[in-house]
Amino acid sequence: MRRNKLLSIAVLCLACNGGTDVPPNPDPVEPPSGPVARSARGNLRFKGPERINADFAAALDLRAESVCTELGLYQCTAMVHNVALGGVDPYGPGLYESSGVTASTTPLVIDRIAWAACTLRVTTDLGTPAAAAIFKDIPQVGKKLANPDGAEVRGLITSLTQRALLRNPYRNEVERYIELAKAIEATGNAEPAKAWMQSVCFAILSSAESIFY
């Protein structure tokens, strides 16, 4: 009876978290053991400027207009790199319809935006830990992760995967990101914990799964 009450309270607390928060850290999912069934239609679509900006903003709890700006002034997706992301520019150059294909510069722009968004989130969270939105409660020793294999690190990987890819991470993904933490430390980076957070965030946001649908 008492146990049921506790469970109810836990469920209520979960509901209080709101739409963008994530449930507690579950065990990672086992990856498929062999090749998965392939899509017969193969109709993968690129998200394009507005959707990428909105999804990155939601995943990292950023204001839409702050996800990425050039010179701190001009929005990457709405203005500077809009056409490279498949946007249109009807009123000036008369680009009325999207080309329908990604350009040679599109991957560079995706990297630019993902890196900008991740850097902003990590820097903000580490700068004001009390108000941190995502990169919080990760124990550090100096500038290093205190325990790269710890539950907090695994929880962060799960949280980022859920927020950006709308699923739980596979076990091999978690292990790979933990290995990444050790590899970054081995490079002698002055702030390995921060570099790792940026890198994991970047890897997830710039993945094909994140930018196509």
């Binding site: 998965v36 899509s39 249109v88 009123y91 709308l166």
Partner: protein
Amino acid sequence: MKNHTFRWVLVAAAMVQSGTALAKPPAGGVFCQKYPTAQECAGRQPSCTYCHIAPPQRNAYGTALSQQLAVGMPRPLSDADFAAALPSALGAIEGQDADGDGVSNVVEIQQGTLPGDPNSKPSVSACQGKDNPQYSVCHYDLRYVYKKLLLDFCGASPSFAQVSAFMARPSDADRQAFIDTEIDRCTQTEFWRGKNGQLWKLAHPKVRPVGSLKDGEDKGGVPLADYYDDYALFAYTQTDDHDAREVLTADYFVKRETNPTRYSKVTSLSSQKVDQAHRAGNMTSAWSLTYFVMFTALPRNAASQMYRSYLGLDIAKQEGLYSVAGEPQDYDAKGVTQKECAACHATLDPLTYPFRNYNGISSPRYSVQYIPNRLETFFRDAAPRITQTPERGVIFGQPVNDLREWARVAADSDAFAISTTTDYWKLLIGHTPRPDESAEFVATWKRFRTSHQYRVQKLLHDIVKTEAYGAP
């Protein structure tokens, strides 16, 4: 001079050698009589490029066909002889594989691929039996649809918690009902209906805005007309319970208000000048008359743009040709009776005549309005027979007395329903209907036209329910 003459001799020789020198306008109709269930004939007709690279040059299918067409008869064939001989020639090459892609001509015709293009053939991909932990491959996948529709209609993915909650719903029927609710919610958003939202994106190629000529909000350097009125009418007709055809037939205007965006019907706008009795939706907006009529006596550009953007028929690509006997008359002496021009202008010029009294750019007193006897008043000296240009025209072979009748016939046509459905199919599925999607596409546009009475909101629900949209 000698070089010039020589070039013309070469051109003439090439045309004589090519036999039937030009694509035959009756071809599409005869083809569809022969193959009424072909996908190219579902509410439309194949364009000239079905057999030609560009007339008179033929593709592989056209070449094979020409070798069986009225063998022994002297060239050029009359339209009547051509139409009489075509069915048997089509039948004679049905079993052949003209483009060498491994699929016979008749199978390609029936399945909607191009028998003259080796890169176009029926899909052979099939569902494979393995598992996929993320997607229900080859089946309508509600989880996939939910994530996709929020991106398509709201502009952002759901959260992990929302996806989990969606999957926790008690049944597929409940999930489907929730999807319908979400479509209706998202189509209220700025992402869908607001300035530069998805509906505006659909409208860009129809309106063809030019920022430097913009009047009103976001005024350009040479303000001539306010095309945001055109976007407003377009968006209004595509939302809520409005009739999409009114984008062509409306005798009203639409006012846009912001925060949030709202569109409402009004009887007048200070930026619009055509009187109510002569309004035909966006075809007669101040911007359309400014930009597509401009200074022209006979604005073929206006007619072809409306034909292309609202009916999906691009005359420059030899689509939608319905030659009118005795046309073109060439009232404005542009030389369009030349054989090379007449094949298209026999359709285009009668489409244009109803625009004769719609004025484009002139002095402020006469700009962008309907002016009876416009040609007699402003263009009397443009060509000797210019004032003989009738207001009566022809669209899809059907005579019309004026532009409002033109708009009515256009809006009620299969072409309009197909074009509108294609717009949203491309927006939501990402490409024009593929051969393997054709059956669903045809059923969708037919429902849009019949049971849905041209309501785009219902069309959107239909598209989301197709396998083409929902099977990953």
